[in-house]
């Protein structure tokens, strides 16, 4: 067994949230720059340029890329040969979030109860999703997930006989309905298969994956590419003001599912899609 003190995880969570909020992901920046080369709409070009300028300023001056520094989402894959020591993992992760949001002057956007709605002023509790994996490593993925786009996310339980076109139509409708509100150009994480919650979680995990890589399986890769083409022909454009750039990237994560169903979840994410990862 490899022993690991949870304070190491706390420190990593803190550092990752600071990084994610100040430094735009390289694959995200790459997608924006490559779209700028193809875009012809003057207003869209102006917005894409300001997104790039904003990322540079945020990195240099350590000002959050977006004021919605998100609900803190933490996915931890724990190797089964790791023994966690030094106290509660849950507390360590939440302490890491607390420290990052205090130290980085990040917005505290979490309320304690969905109906009573008192701000906890620490941006905790965070969302923690754990998985047990082989080996003796711990992988941490964090995302400060903004709610302008989270609010536009959707899940649909399709029939098992649904065609690829029906899946694509659902995704395109989600983007249309999001319109200008979710801060397009968007990144989409799509979960296909599993149960309802597996599809939703896979959609979130898809947002952690690099957007300059495609799905390993051709039939899913074709859906990703087809959707990018279809969505970019909608004309929504950056901030909904027109142009040929409505989506920057799409990742699909697929799962085995039941004979009676075909769940599809779309996690909508804004042009400032933020995350950071580390393996301990």
């Amino acid at each position: 067994m490899r022993e690991m003190d949870v304070s190491k995880i706390k420190d990593a969570v803190r550092d990752l949230f600071l990084k994610a909020n100040f430094e735009l992901r390289p694959d995200v920046l790459k997608a924006i720059k490559s779209a700028l080369k193809k875009e012809k709409n003057a207003c869209a070009i102006g917005i894409l340029r300001s997104i790039i300028d904003n990322a540079a300023l945020a990195r240099k001056k350590r000002i959050a890329i977006c004021q919605d520094t998100g609900m803190a989402v933490v996915h931890i894959d724990i190797g089964q040969d790791v023994a966690l020591t030094g106290g509660s993992l849950k507390k360590a992760v939440n302490d890491g979030v607390k420290e990052a949001y205090a130290k980085g002057h990040l917005r505290k956007s979490v309320v304690d109860d969905p109906l009573l709605r008192n701000n906890t002023n620490t941006n905790t509790p965070c969302i923690i999703v754990t998985d047990i994996i082989d080996g003796d490593r711990v992988r941490i993925d964090v995302s400060p997930k903004g709610f302008g786009s989270e609010n536009k996310s959707k899940i649909k339980m399709l029939k098992p006989t649904a065609s690829v076109e029906e899946i694509k139509d659902f995704v395109v409708d989600v983007v249309k309905e999001a319109g200008p509100d979710a801060c397009p150009p968007l990144f989409l994480g799509i979960g296909i298969g599993g149960t309802m919650e597996t599809a939703a979680l896979s959609a979130k995990k898809a947002l952690f994956l690099p957007f300059d890589e495609n799905n390993k399986k051709k039939h899913f890769r074709d859906i990703e590419k087809g959707l990018i083409k279809d969505i970019n022909s909608l004309g929504i454009g950056p901030m909904g003001l027109g142009g040929s750039t409505t989506v920057f990237g799409i990742n699909i994560v697929e799962n085995p599912t039941h004979i009676a169903g075909l769940p599809v979840a779309v996690n909508v994410s804004c042009h400032a899609t933020r995350s950071a990862s580390k393996v301990l």
Binding site: D53, A64, C66, Q67, T69, H105, D181, C183
Partner: protein, 178 residues
């Protein structure tokens, strides 16, 4: 297109000259208010018919900024989705509110109130809050401080970049994009 420079207080005359799609640079005083502050305004209006903020010719910015880093008046400071404020907006317009800043479309009721009262809805670019924060010269929480990021902040802005989203005729920039 050269941006049109406008100042606060935002008069009816200034609003009359703005058209959907115009680029604008705004200088002056604006007030932040988002979901929780709007709900408080609504509850106060229902109870007493008054709110502790003079909205005559004022501009509300739908925003919840990040706290200021050392040496800065404010942190990241971009717009939030306006449509969540739609149901509260007409009653604030009736109090004299002249302008709103946010992102995304507005309801038919809001458009109607904008038309009837010669108001304007501006769009700011979302997700570039670091860049926009450079246009904010000072910030002070003046109401509902216990709401943290949802408090009402009085901001002094200089050349804050905006686009006219809905003009006083009720014409929306999003209409022609469909």
């Amino acid at each position: 297109m050269t941006p049109i420079k406008i100042n606060t207080p935002l008069t009816k005359e200034a609003v009359m000259s703005l058209k959907a799609g115009d680029e604008v640079l705004l200088t002056g005083t604006i007030f932040t208010a988002r979901d929780a502050a709007h709900k408080r305004f609504h509850d106060l209006l229902s109870k007493s018919g008054r709110i502790p903020l003079d909205l005559k010719d004022a501009i509300i910015y739908y925003a919840g900024p990040t706290p200021p880093p050392p040496g800065r008046p404010i942190g990241s400071c971009g717009p939030t989705t306006s449509s969540r404020m739609d149901s509260f907006t007409p009653e604030l317009i009736r109090l004299g509110l002249r302008g709103m800043i946010g992102k995304g479309e507005r309801s038919a009721e809001v458009k109607d109130a904008i038309k009837k009262n010669a108001c304007v809805y501006f769009i700011a670019t979302g997700g570039i809050g670091a860049l926009l924060s450079m246009k904010v010269k000072s910030a002070r929480a003046i109401l509902f401080k216990e709401l943290g990021p949802e408090a009402v902040y009085k901001l002094e802005v200089r050349d804050f970049p905006l686009i006219v989203g809905i003009d006083q005729k009720g014409k929306s920039i999003y209409d022609k994009k469909k």
